[in-house]
Symmetry: C2
Subunit: 499 residues, 2 copies
């Protein structure tokens, strides 16, 4: 990217130089020495800009003469170099002593007494688990990726430009820990209309992604030692969060009707909370049946337990109308509802929301404030306008048609090409479906083979907490054009074979 | 704000309507009933847009005829109204039954069995403590507020527009939990040069404000029951965070040289960590002396304790060159360094950073990922360019001169107008100074009087954990023009009198 046109030559950050007028050493020598030391110790790096002589003189409160002298010497000795239009920079060809490896290593740890870190961090996800999340995923089947190239870039960038031009002091302050009123109103209206959530804007809290929604919820509702029902298989990174909070996880099996409530009651009747994905179970994709929903609410009322409803991709339902949220069925206020813009807009926006039971608003607000004060302001206004002006519902409608085609292409491909008996679940909604493999297949082995072909396959077995677990894959279809799907499925077929 | 010009009439969000073709009730009646119920139950609200008949028919998978019939009836009965250019909306003049208060109250909690929330939330900040943080502060002296009107809006908004035009799929993915490489490089360069921090870009983690930096640090380094040194007086919202984490807070007095390390050792030799603000103590504003810095590092090495250095406003130093960070003095790796863009740019940006000892990077990354996956992407790129292109250091230089003037105006005003013996500290740096009042003054009483005059004064005593505490105020000067200062100080004088 080209820098903006500027009137002046860019001027670097002023380094930490202490000058002492009463010292015997002349000022130009002090400045020279300070620069030389900073370069040798690699506090200043090759090609880094240094301030103009005028700027530095004013920073140090000295006349320009000693600064000019010091710069001349540093240039002459090759510590600095002058670049046309770019001012003075630290030389990219430094003397050997500076480039020697022990200097590069200077800041490496040599702790005298190793300070310990708490052992509970051990249950956290490792880099290996996180890595696939870090950037563009490999291959056709990575789950939860919206069709980025279909995003309404033009409308979005016009909204961004408008809000950027209108940046004013009032919106530069911290803002409310609950989020901006405009976005909370827009989200509440959307949830009441499209998701059957019973809420007012005052119950909405804007957060930085649904993981943060879970984090805040866990901190408000749970204490170390509490038991929590989690779907088995279930969302892995929620597990890490509950572990970090010191909670006991009770895995409750999921069948064709969703979470098996009776099994949960048998395992741990008095769990403090249950985390569920009733619209499109993660990862299997099943929709929780009406009778299970009522059973779950009944249990939560009787045992005084909380239900955390994660409604992460329910906007996309292909074969029937969307099913109302669990929260909307609840006549008490036992349900905390979580939704996100990651799947409908895009993940790096980091915007999601919580619907909080009225009597807990103060608690949630206090915990949120203590964690990170308030959400950033700018994109809250952009998204509020995006919803208010109708772009949001139009985008969802367009994407639903697109994803339906992509899903059909995946289903057709699987039916036509896979010659092993697979069991497909969760294809009615969302951005992924799941396939279950017969027992003589090992999903991790296949996944490793696939990664060598640059296909990233999420093995179903890693979503189970207990062994032996089901083998299979979560197959995302939302970011692969329908016409590319047959080729992708052929690749998949070629790596799937028994151990 | 005017909506963008659009080709079509805006169309509302499709409501949750289940139609059943096999039911005896005709389709138009089913649609009519669903709308009527949603309006009566306030899932749809007055003036809310409804989808066009064409859109709804396609959503429901039915022909347009029954939808047209249902809409006609809803319009005729006054549930809907047609607005020129705005399509069809829910009527703003609804029948009485809909407006009755019991409907409005429908979603209020009537929990059968009150599910408990953990008692540890009790030590959290209350709304009263948080409120002053929520928006533009009242009056001249609110601390930590940059001069919003001096922000380089033009350059900023050009950078925003540029990045918005260049939004591409790769930057829409989650991104790294550590933050973007571009911003991490820019921050590392800045910290090495201007703050004497010893770091490489790989040690930088971008976070959503310094409060989140503290939250992540506390979770990595501390366990429930651990003791933590905090400056007395000290930053209140850090206290809330350590409380939430179940830590014991050991208040360690601050004198003219900063944290009294020997006093800390006497009170709790084996504290697990110490949170300090050595550049400009919060709230007193003193700078930690060189000997205290060495003493603190010596203690931390001997006892294997961590030091958390919060360097929140050290960019602004008025009477001497900035003092290098404590982190840069440390030859081991016992210091976790925190800095923020809230004071140098603006708070609602929610951008801050951590410098992590190398051997803890994995731990920090895992905890951060578990909390909220990764920071939002967009403004990381904007700020990286803002630094790289020299706007950042230019802005800091401009603001330093401006704040120096404002600070002098405040000091002159205090000297000229206050006729009681006050003790000023912390005026060498930062965005605020502190005044201490004689014992017969009560800062809370004065603060309440001031708030009735629309001046928000932060009472010093509320930054102490133990009573009896020092009375006084933290006076911010950065967001008040020098010419307005005399009048502001007169107002201050008028509310300060003994109890």
């Amino acid at each position: 990217m080209l820098p903006l046109v500027m009137k002046k030559t860019p001027s670097g950050i002023a380094p930490l130089i202490q000058v002492d007028r009463r010292a015997r050493e002349p000022l130009h020598r002090q400045i020279y020495n300070a620069y030389r030391a900073a370069i040798v110790e690699r506090a200043l790096r090759p090609k880094q800009q240094v301030p103009s002589t005028r700027t530095l003189a004013s920073e140090l409160g000295v006349s320009r003469i000693p600064v000019l002298n010091a710069y001349a010497q540093l240039l002459a000795e090759g510590y600095f170099e002058a670049r046309v239009g770019a001012g003075t920079v630290v030389s990219s060809m430094l003397p050997d002593e500076v480039r020697s490896p022990q200097h590069a290593q200077a800041s490496t740890s040599s702790r005298r007494c190793a300070a310990p870190v708490p052992p509970n961090s051990i249950s956290l996800p490792s880099m290996g688990n996180i890595l696939p999340w870090l950037g563009p995923r490999l291959g056709a089947f990575s789950p939860g990726q919206p069709a980025f190239d279909q995003f309404p870039f033009k409308v979005w960038s016009r909204l961004v430009a408008r809000h950027s031009r209108n940046l004013r002091p009032p919106s530069m302050h911290y803002g409310s820990p609950m989020g901006s009123n405009g976005l909370r109103e827009a989200v509440a209206g959307y949830l009441r209309t499209a998701r059957g959530v019973r809420c007012e804007a005052e119950q909405i809290m804007i957060v930085s992604g649904s993981q943060q929604a879970l984090e805040i919820t866990a901190r408000v509702l749970l204490e170390p030692g509490n038991s929590v029902w989690m779907e088995e298989p279930g969302y892995r990174f929620a597990r890490a969060l509950f572990n970090l909070q010191g909670c006991q996880i009770v895995p409750v099996p999921v069948d064709r009707e969703g979470l098996n409530v009776s099994a949960g009651i048998k395992r741990c009747k008095n769990a403090r909370a249950a985390l569920v994905t009733p619209s499109h179970q993660y990862p299997l994709g099943v929709t929780m049946s009406a009778s299970r929903r009522l059973q779950l609410l009944e249990w939560s009322h009787r045992s005084g337990s909380w239900i955390i409803e994660d409604d992460y991709d329910s906007e996309y339902r292909y074969e029937s109308m969307p099913i109302a949220s669990l929260q909307g069925l609840d006549r008490g206020s036992q349900v905390v509802y979580i939704g996100t813009f990651s799947k409908v807009l895009f993940p790096s926006l980091r915007l999601a929301y919580l619907v909080i039971p009225r009597d807990l608003i103060e608690r949630f607000l206090a915990v949120r404030f203590t964690f990170d004060i308030a959400p950033p302001n700018f994109f809250q206004s952009v998204v509020a306008d995006f919803i208010r002006e109708g772009h949001f519902s139009r985008h969802i409608r367009r994407m639903r048609l697109l994803y339906r085609d992509r899903r059909s292409a995946l289903l057709n491909g699987l039916r036509a090409q896979l010659d092993i008996p697979i069991d497909v679940t969760g294809e009615q909604a969302g951005l992924h479906l799941s396939i279950k493999l017969p027992r003589d297949f090992c999903d991790h082995e296949i996944s490793e083979r696939a990664s060598r072909q640059r296909i990233w396959l999420a093995p179903l077995s890693s979503y189970y907490r207990k062994r032996p677990s089901q083998q299979g894959f979560i197959l995302g279809f939302s970011n692969t054009p329908a016409e590319d799907m047959p080729r992708a499925v052929r690749k998949l077929r070629d790596v799937i074979h028994p151990r």
